[in-house]
């Protein structure tokens, strides 16, 4: 399984939550090797929005994140008010930059932890449903990139939550046609520079986890020695596939089948309900 983090708030260097300190995404990933989980050594990626606006940038690599010197440089020098970071554990798919998250389309970034079961069997039918105008952008071989392009096909840029629900419902429809049970288990995040939409869902009700930081005060307690974090305003929030650190109360677990929206003003938390429209794929 992969791991990811999304940040929204005061502009900070990407390294702030991603590396070089205890309880960072990459530190956590290495420690998790001591537990029962996989090594996330099959590439990584970051995606960020500049303070000045404009399209997001990405840096994706096939190297393990923990020893990638370029990542350290960039994470120290790039400041951003909204960024994604993702570390990958491949389950057989090629380790190549085009399979690394986040994926991008125009202003949108997408990243994912989870799986489409029996993807090799379902891939063709799913690919067929992608808008032919979008298909040339698909360069890798992951289920994640394909889910992103399905969501784009289903209107992600107009209504992100509805498009993700249509995507999930469509995958379930196609899986049913092919006799694949419980096809989806996803923790997914998208952003457009203004907001982060993050959903947790699985067909069988046992999805990967998803957490929102409670508020900036909790983050400050978690990293008492880091000036940049101590200076954060109350707007600063993190969304993670697994909690960073073990501070009780720092993270709210998002319930099964939910989608959260982090944005200026009030955040939102709603049920996530795949829209199954019985799409026929011929």
């Amino acid at each position: 399984m992969c791991r990811w983090l999304a940040y929204y708030g005061d502009p900070v260097p990407i390294e702030t939550f991603v590396l070089r300190r205890k309880h960072s995404l990459i530190d956590q990933s290495l420690n998790s090797q001591l537990g029962a989980t996989t090594t996330n050594g099959d590439g990584f990626g970051i995606g960020w929005y500049d303070e000045l606006g404009g399209l997001p940038g990405t840096y994706r690599s096939v190297h393990p994140a923990w020893n990638d010197r370029n990542l350290r440089e960039l994470a120290a020098h790039i400041r951003s008010p909204l960024f994604f970071a993702h570390i990958r554990a491949s389950t057989g798919t090629a380790v190549q930059e085009t399979n690394a998250h986040p994926f991008r389309h125009g202003r949108w970034l997408f990243m994912h932890n989870g799986v489409v079961r029996e993807f090799a069997r379902l891939r063709r039918a799913l690919l067929l449903a992608v808008d032919p105008e979008l298909m040339p952008q698909i360069e890798g071989s992951t289920d994640s990139e394909l889910m992103f392009h399905l969501a784009l096909t289903f209107g992600l840029e107009e209504d992100a939550v509805a498009a993700l629900e249509r995507m999930a419902g469509f995958v379930e429809d196609v899986a049913e046609e092919h006799g694949v049970e419980n096809p989806l288990q996803i923790s997914v995040a998208v952003a457009d520079g203004e907001r982060i939409v993050a959903a947790r869902y699985s067909s069988e009700g046992r999805s990967g986890s998803l957490f929102f930081s409670t508020d900036a005060r909790a983050l400050k307690k978690l990293y008492p020695d880091i000036d940049e974090i101590q200076g954060l305003s109350d707007e600063a929030r993190g969304v993670v596939s697994e909690p960073l650190g073990d501070l009780v109360g720092a993270w709210n677990e998002v319930p099964e089948s939910s989608v959260g929206i982090v944005q200026a003003g009030e955040d939102e938390l709603r049920p996530f309900t795949p829209r199954r429209e019985g799409v026929r794929t011929g």
Copy 2:
């Protein structure tokens, strides 16, 4: 444009024709930079059959061939009676191992120099025609890998020439449907360990070049100082997308729209005629 070489004959180290000497594939590629052609610096690959038989091996890399130390090692140590070597010049497609030639399916290797015009527009329809059982094997984003899987779909393993002709005809059919003129310009080679089938074709009659070595005597004249080549029997033959060296008479240019078969006993040279069956792709 890419460049490639196929060898059939007495087992020799792969380096014999591929690198480390004047008139080798890679030397030639670097020299060609002084001419009007592209730098072939976007990855390379070799594929070879062992002397003992069995499935072929491949080594594919995203580095420029000229400074890849692992290639030098392997090419010096791997002996083979039938091998492919390919150096790539990307025209925009991602530089990743899964886009490097040769491609493999079971006993078969495939490599290619050329282009499917407006591939981005045609890709979806071509992909749809691939046998759903084969589709999960497609990991990259090149026209070449897709052509290989179309040829496999059309029976490459039973009748290689017919399958390549059906593949070419199918691409032309799909291109016509989409209003793409003169879609194909290819120099393609496949092998199964027993024989090499190499075809040259373009929709407009101006394909990339293709050459067969005239006989081992010509190769020996081209490389007078190389013991391994001087010891070759008359069975040894090379097929190349561009001639190595400038020795007059060493290479026979294959005519437009032709396919040659290099094998034990008599070689064959036949017309290559795309089989256009007016396939409808919905």
Copy 3:
């Protein structure tokens, strides 16, 4: 031979002069393949100072620059008032990130085009002269990285020009001891965030070239369609190992054995005279 570019002036995205357009460093490098020069495909690097100050960042890669997608992303998103860009053509030394320019020490960046003749023979004696405190930083195997650490040993951080002259003189002393004639041929640049110091020198008086842009008006004429360049103030200047574009009058060639300093206020141009102190290396 390598190629490099240094920029000083109004903050611009690094891509402005480095890629994606005619007359950029990388475009030029590819075009130069049509000429008589080498392909610069053996890695590249950028180094930049942030607008906010602080230590410079670097991004160094072993891939050819022309197809490196991460470079495109970073060059589009990183804005800087002073940056270096370097593309490498190895002459046998390993293609690895630690051999890519620019090199960094504290606030200082260093890059280089040229050669120390018979470096393999001289390396040991040169390495011995490096300050033992600095030696652990040497991670690669190039003459360039070693020259940088010699210059640091000789006081680069206090007086950059004098330290470069001492470094050049010391290399000539060591070469003489070893019977190596005309050991140096260099076009070298260093920066500390406030100024660029660039020198051209060769032992035999035939060094690689070095050019300063005449003034921002010349740059504006060279790139009439690029808003970011049209908006530059008169402070903006470039230093390059070979001129970008072929606009007459846009570039001043620095004379043999000269060193230029680009900084706020008046630039300087002075003779560059190796300081030969007859150092004994035992």
Copy 4:
């Protein structure tokens, strides 16, 4: 810490003990993540002697071994009667091919697991002691490569055991001069195509482990389903830094401060005693 394996005996494909099965070097490395040890994800290498003799070949990569497709190909196709395999866990040194094991000089291969304590401080003095003729071959920045070149300087090609003992003694001498206690902790192997010499030593008597397979019968019990191993003669032996599999009696632990020689005829096991000659390094 790294991990390594050396094989001597009937020619087998390198994959036999290196990957693709339970109790292989790479499988073991991934499983060890569940234990208390490090992830060996910072590159790997293989080195092998051909059945026909000649210089050994090497393949070294910066990718994690577990997902490197080229490694799988080569390990399946290269047969060898004597090979090394090494997987690396960097402790800060750059992840680059020139830092990957095994290292080679002429007919000799060298690989290592362990550490020279405070290497950054000792490196200069150690480097100075390397034969100036050999120094140009040092391309990376590891203690391991430097130890190899010291051993070569001290006569490895004439008397391998004595040279390794001199190397160890010299490192201890230099460390003492610099006030570094207990500098060495090594499990090291060298080979010349005829024999493997493997030593275990640490200055404080707590070195990394080293094991020899007891005999081919034990290997056969460990891999009951693998024809290639079942067909091995009694000559086949393995040397490993950690045992593969958990079969009691399959591996003999080499005692502290010992060196073993695997060769045709009788193997040898002797004390390993650093030769401290009080070398002065100025």
